[in-house]
C-alpha cells in the first residue's frame, strides 16, 4: 500500500486547479488524512469525523432503497394486473425498479456533487461531505417517473441556492433535500401532485392505457430474462379496469378511513406495498433505520419523540373535531399512511437545520408534528404536509434557539 501511496502522491495535481480539488476529494474518501494535532490544544482527537457520521445515515437508508426500488416495480405490475402477489415476478419488478431509480440516483449525484466540487475549487477548500446524505435522500422523495431534466434543475437549485449560497456544509438554513422537492412541487406541480405520478411507466393512469417501455426494458432486460427462461416485459400490456392508482392519503381525503380500507389493508400500508415516494412506504424498514440512528446517536431522539407526540396530539384533536372525512381517520391509523415516519426520522433530524439546543429540539419536533398534521388533514390541494412543515420549522429553528439562549443568559446575568 505504501507503493500505491507514493505513486498517488507523485502524480498529485497542482494546488488551485480543479483537478486538485477532485483529487483531494477522492483521496480523502479513500484515505483518512495524515494530519496531526496542533502543538497546543488537544493532542488526541475522537475517531469520529463528519464522513463517518454521514455514512451512518446513508447506511440507515439502504433498506429503504432496496424496498423502494422493488416497490416501484410492484406498483407498476399491480396497475397492469400482472404478477399481483408481492413476490411474483421478482426479477421483473427489481429490474424495472432499477431502471427507474438508478437514473435518478446517478443524476442527483452528478449534478449535486458537480456543483459542490465547483464551489470547493472556487473557494479553495476541500470537498465537504454534506452532500452524501442529501444526495441519498433526494431520489427517495421524488416520483419515480420524474423527468431527469426537472430533477437536475431541482438538485441544482437546492445545492446552489440552498446550501452554497449560504456558505456550504453546516451553514444552510433549510434542509437541502426538501428544497429540491419543494422546487419540483412549486415549479412543476403536475409532475409531483395527484395520483398519476406515483405509479411508474404510464403516460396516464386510465383503464386500458398502454404501458410505456423503453430500450432498457424491451431490449436489455428482455434478452437477459430470455436467457434464463424467465417471464419478460410485455409491451402490449394495458392497465386493468378499476385501477386508480390512488395513494392512501388521496383516498382518505375522499372518504375517510372506510374508503382507504376498501382499497388497501392496514398491514399492506404498514409493510409498504402501496404507491408513494420511493423511500417512504415501508414503515418497519424506516423504524429499523431510526434505531440505527438512535443507537449510534447520530440523530436526536428528542426530535423524533416530540415529532411523534405532536403528530399524535394534532390528529387526536382533529378526531374530536371530525368536520371532514379526513379528520375522522382514527389517529393511530394516520401513521401508517403517508411519509410521516420518513420525514421525522431522516429529514427533521438533520442537525444543521434543526434547533441546536436540547430543549429547542423538543419544541421544534413537536411543532413539526403539529404543523405537518394540520397541512395533511386540512389542505385541500396536496394531501401531505411534512415537506412544508419541516421547511417552515427550519425557518423558525434559530428563533426557538434564540429564546432558549436568551433565557439562559438572563438567568446568569440576573444572579450576578
Amino acid at each position: 500500500m505504501n507503493k500505491l501511496l507514493k505513486f498517488i502522491k507523485e502524480n498529485e495535481p497542482k494546488k488551485g486547479t480543479f483537478a486538485h480539488t477532485l483529487y483531494d476529494g477522492f483521496f480523502t474518501f479513500l484515505f483518512t488524512p495524515n494530519e496531526t494535532t496542533s502543538p497546543t490544544g488537544v493532542h488526541i482527537r475522537d475517531r469520529i469525523d463528519l464522513k463517518r457520521t454521514m455514512v451512518t445515515v446513508v447506511i440507515a437508508l439502504q433498506l429503504c432503497y432496496l424496498f423502494g426500488t422493488y416497490n416501484i416495480g410492484h406498483q407498476h405490475f399491480v396497475a397492469l394486473g400482472m404478477h399481483t402477489g408481492f413476490l411474483e415476478g421478482f426479477h421483473l419488478k427489481l429490474g424495472y425498479g432499477l431502471t427507474k431509480l438508478l437514473p435518478l440516483f446517478i443524476w442527483t449525484h452528478v449534478v449535486g456533487l458537480g456543483i459542490e466540487f465547483y464551489f470547493a475549487w472556487r473557494k479553495g477548500h476541500s470537498i465537504e461531505e454534506g452532500f452524501l446524505v442529501s444526495g441519498a435522500l433526494i431520489p427517495l422523495i421524488m416520483p419515480p417517473d420524474l423527468p431527469i431534466w426537472i430533477l437536475c434543475l431541482a438538485v441544482a437549485f437546492a445545492v446552489f441556492m440552498g446550501k452554497e449560497a449560504f456558505g456550504g456544509t453546516g451553514k444552510n438554513i433549510w434542509n437541502v433535500a426538501l428544497l429540491a422537492r419543494a422546487f419540483v412541487f412549486f415549479a412543476y406541480p403536475t409532475t409531483i401532485s395527484g395520483d398519476q405520478v406515483w405509479i411508474a411507466g404510464f403516460e396516464q393512469i386510465l383503464p386500458g392505457a398502454q404501458v410505456d417501455y423503453g430500450w432498457w426494458q424491451t431490449s436489455f432486460f428482455n434478452t437477459l430474462f430470455g436467457w434464463f427462461g424467465w417471464a419478460q416485459f410485455d409491451p402490449a400490456a394495458t392497465i386493468v379496469d378499476g385501477f386508480t392508482g390512488a395513494t392512501p392519503l388521496a383516498l382518505a381525503f375522499e372518504g375517510g378511513w372506510d374508503r382507504v380500507t376498501e382499497v388497501y389493508s392496514s398491514s399492506q400500508m404498514f409493510w409498504g406495498a402501496i404507491p408513494g415516494s420511493i423511500g417512504e412506504t415501508s414503515k418497519p424498514l424506516i423504524i429499523i433505520g431510526a434505531l440505527i440512528l438512535l443507537i449510534t446517536k447520530i440523530a436526536s431522539w428528542r426530535i423524533m419523540l416530540s415529532g411523534l407526540v405532536g403528530a399524535v396530539v394534532m390528529s387526536m384533536i382533529f378526531n374530536m373535531w371530525g368536520a371532514t372525512p379526513f379528520m375522522t381517520v382514527p389517529w393511530q391509523d394516520q401513521f401508517i399512511m403517508g411519509s410521516f415516519w420518513f420525514a421525522i426520522v431522516f429529514m427533521a433530524t438533520d442537525p444543521v437545520t434543526a434547533s441546536g439546543t436540547n430543549f429547542g429540539k423538543l419544541v421544534y419536533g413537536f411543532l413539526i408534528g403539529m404543523v405537518g398534521m394540520i397541512i395533511r388533514i386540512i389542505n385541500p390541494a396536496y394531501p401531505e404536509g411534512w415537506m412544508l412543515a419541516i421547511l417552515f420549522l427550519n425557518t423558525f429553528a434559530p428563533l426557538i434557539d434564540h429564546y432558549i439562549v436568551e433565557n439562559n443568559m438572563k438567568k446568569r446575568l440576573k444572579s450576578a
Partner: protein
C-alpha cells in the same frame, strides 16, 4: 420562551390528559359529523383544543426539565467525622463528561532526577507582556528564590529562579519575545533566605508584598481569564482541587509526597489573603483513596467531586460550589504550588520541588519523577525526546503543550505525556478503522467495553469542518451554558452574548473535552483563549 412550572406532577398530568382524550375520541357522536349548534360546538372545541395544547406544552416542558436534570450534577450532603468534630460535606456527582482511559499509566515508584538545566518560561503566564525585563545578567550566579525577571505591566511582581546556579541566557521567539530564561543548575541547591512575615500578626498588605517580591505571586492564577492575580484587590474566594481527573494524571497523593505540613501552612496563608472562604475539592470517585492527613487539613471547606472527568478541574468545582459572576475575582492554586507557598512561610525558602509523572503509550518507562519546576524534559526522557515519531507533551493529552525546541516543563504542569505521532494514512479509516481508539461516539463499539484502555496517537482522524453536529459539547461540559453558541459568539466577537453565556466561568481546560469530541475538529481551546483575551482587553 417562559415556561411556567406547574405544581402537578407531569406524569399524572399527561396520563390524565391522554385518558380524557381517549374517552372523548371514542364517543361515537363525534365521528358522525355536526348536527345543530355547529358554531357553539366548534367554538367549544377550539377552546378545548387551545387548552389541550397549552397543557401538553407545559407537561412537555416539565418532561424536558426532568430530562435536563438527568444530565445535571447530582449533589448530596454527607456527614463526616473528622477527629472530634463532624462536618457536613457536599458530594457532587458529575454526570456530563468523559473518562478517557489510556494505556501507559505510570508505575508507582518515584525516581529522583535533577537535570542540569532549568528554565522559567514567560509564555506560561497569560497576561504578561512578551518581553519581560531581565534582572540578572548572563553568567551571574543566582540562588533558588532569587528574582530573575519581572513584567513591565506589574513592576512589583517578580518571577524567581527555581534552582541555584548560573544564569545561562535567554532564548527568544518571534518578534524578539522571550520564550525561555535558562539557568544552569548546581548539584546542591542553595536557597535564598526569605524573611517570611509572621502569619498570625502580619497584615494582608505585608503578606501580599512579601509574596510579590519573592515569587509567590505566580503560584496563584486568577479567574476569570486565568491570569496572574491583579496587583490590587482581594479575591472573593480561593479554590484548590486536590486531584486531577485528566487522562493518565496519576495519583495526586504520590505527588504530594508527604508534605502535608507545608500544605497546611499554605492553607493558613490563603486564609489570610481573602475575606471569603478557601475551598478544596476532594476526590469523590469510586476508587479514590483519601489519606487521613488530607481530610484533616484545617481552615479549608472540603467538597467531594466524583463521576466523570472534568470533575477534577478546579473550574468545574468552582462552578458547582460558588459560580463566578460578572465582577467577581477568584484565585486558584494547584496542590504543588500550594506546597511551595507553604514552604516559603514554614521553612523560609522558595522550594520549587515538583513530583511529576511520565505516562503514555509512547513512554518507555512510565513512572513518577521527583524534580523541580521548569526541568529539562530532554534529560528526563532523552530517548523519547529525540525520536521524531514521538510527541512529548508537557501536561496531559487534552490541555498540554508539545515540547521540541523548548524542552522545559511548563510552570503549572505536573505531568508529562508521551504518545506517538500519527502522521500516517489509513485506507478507509473513517469507515473500517484498523485500530481501536478512544471515542465518545457510539458509531464505534467502544461503548460496549466500558473499562477498555486505548493506545492513542496524534492523528486528527478527519479534517476541519464547519460546526455541524449539535448537542455534542453539552454532553461533556457540566456547566449550565450553551457551548456551541458561546464559541460562535466568540468568533463573532459578540461581547454581550459571551458574557451572558458564561465566558467568565470557563477556562481552556474546561472545554478541552468539547474539543476532543468535536466531530468537526474545531480548535475550541484556541477559540476560547481568543475570546478570553478579547474580553480581558475590552472589559
Amino acid at each position: 420562551m417562559k415556561m411556567k412550572k406547574t405544581l402537578l406532577h407531569p406524569r399524572s398530568l399527561v396520563f390524565g390528559f391522554m385518558t380524557s382524550l381517549f374517552l372523548l375520541t371514542s364517543y361515537p357522536g363525534y365521528s358522525q359529523g355536526m348536527g345543530e349548534g355547529d358554531m357553539v360546538t366548534i367554538g367549544i372545541l377550539l377552546i378545548l383544543g387551545v387548552l389541550v395544547v397549552g397543557v401538553v406544552v407545559i407537561a412537555s416542558s416539565n418532561a424536558a426539565y426532568a430530562t435536563a436534570l438527568s444530565g445535571k450534577t447530582r449533589t448530596r450532603t454527607v456527614e463526616e467525622v473528622v477527629g472530634e468534630e463532624s462536618e457536613l460535606r457536599q458530594h457532587f456527582e458529575i454526570k456530563r463528561g468523559l473518562n478517557i482511559l489510556l494505556k501507559g499509566e505510570s508505575d508507582p515508584g518515584v525516581v529522583d532526577v535533577h537535570t542540569s538545566r532549568y528554565a522559567v518560561l514567560p509564555i506560561n503566564f497569560n497576561n504578561i507582556l512578551p518581553i519581560p525585563k531581565i534582572l540578572v545578567e548572563e553568567g551571574a550566579e543566582v540562588l533558588a528564590g532569587q528574582p530573575i525577571f519581572f513584567d513591565k505591566k506589574h513592576p512589583n511582581v517578580f518571577f524567581v529562579s527555581p534552582v541555584s546556579g548560573e544564569m545561562a541566557g535567554i532564548v527568544r521567539g518571534p518578534k524578539r519575545a522571550i520564550h525561555q530564561v535558562v539557568i544552569l543548575a548546581d548539584r546542591e541547591i542553595k536557597y535564598k533566605d526569605l524573611e517570611a512575615p509572621d502569619l498570625a500578626t502580619a497584615d494582608r498588605a505585608t503578606i501580599r508584598k512579601f509574596l510579590k517580591e519573592n515569587g509567590g505571586w505566580p503560584l496563584f492564577r486568577q479567574r476569570p481569564f486565568n491570569i496572574l492575580p491583579d496587583s490590587e484587590g482581594d479575591p472573593r474566594d480561593i479554590f484548590i482541587s486536590s486531584f486531577d481527573s485528566s487522562p493518565l494524571a496519576g495519583d495526586m497523593n504520590i505527588k504530594i509526597d508527604g508534605r502535608y505540613d507545608a500544605m497546611q501552612k499554605g492553607i493558613d496563608v490563603l486564609n489570610r489573603l481573602t475575606d471569603g472562604k478557601v475551598y478544596m475539592g476532594l476526590d469523590g470517585r469510586n476508587n479514590a483513596v483519601i489519606p487521613a492527613e488530607l481530610s484533616n487539613l484545617k481552615g479549608v471547606e472540603k467538597h467531594y467531586f466524583g463521576g466523570l472527568h472534568p470533575c477534577g478541574n478546579v473550574g468545574i468545582q468552582i462552578n458547582h460550589i460558588a459560580p463566578i459572576r460578572k465582577g467577581d475575582t477568584v484565585w486558584t492554586i494547584g496542590v504543588q504550588e500550594l506546597i511551595t507557598l507553604g514552604g516559603m512561610f514554614l521553612e523560609g525558602r522558595y522550594d520549587a520541588a515538583r513530583v511529576i509523572n511520565v505516562a503514555g503509550n509512547g513512554a518507555l518507562e512510565p513512572r513518577y519523577v521527583r524534580t523541580l519546576a521548569g526541568a529539562d524534559l530532554s534529560e528526563i526522557i532523552p530517548q523519547e525526546f529525540s525520536d521524531p515519531a514521538i510527541r512529548v507533551i508537557s501536561g496531559n493529552v487534552l490541555t498540554g503543550q508539545k515540547k521540541d525546541e523548548n524542552p522545559f516543563l511548563n510552570y503549572y504542569d505536573h505531568q508529562v505525556t508521551v504518545i506517538p505521532e500519527g502522521d500516517h494514512y489509513e485506507m478507509f479509516g473513517w469507515l473500517i478503522p484498523q485500530t481501536m481508539r478512544p471515542s465518545a461516539s457510539q458509531t464505534f463499539p467502544n461503548f460496549l467495553f466500558k473499562d477498555m484502555k486505548f493506545n492513542v496517537d496524534t492523528n486528527t482522524h478527519g479534517e476541519r469542518r464547519a460546526f455541524v453536529m449539535s448537542g455534542q459539547y453539552e454532553e461533556v461540559l457540566p456547566v449550565d451554558t450553551f457551548p456551541m453558541q458561546l464559541f460562535k459568539a466568540i468568533l463573532t466577537k459578540d461581547i454581550d452574548r459571551m458574557e451572558g453565556l458564561g465566558i467568565y466561568e470557563l477556562v481552556e481546560e474546561d472545554v478541552a473535552l468539547c474539543e476532543f469530541v468535536c466531530t468537526s475538529k474545531q480548535p475550541l481551546q484556541a477559540i476560547l483563549r481568543q475570546g478570553l483575551d478579547y474580553m480581558h482587553s475590552e472589559a
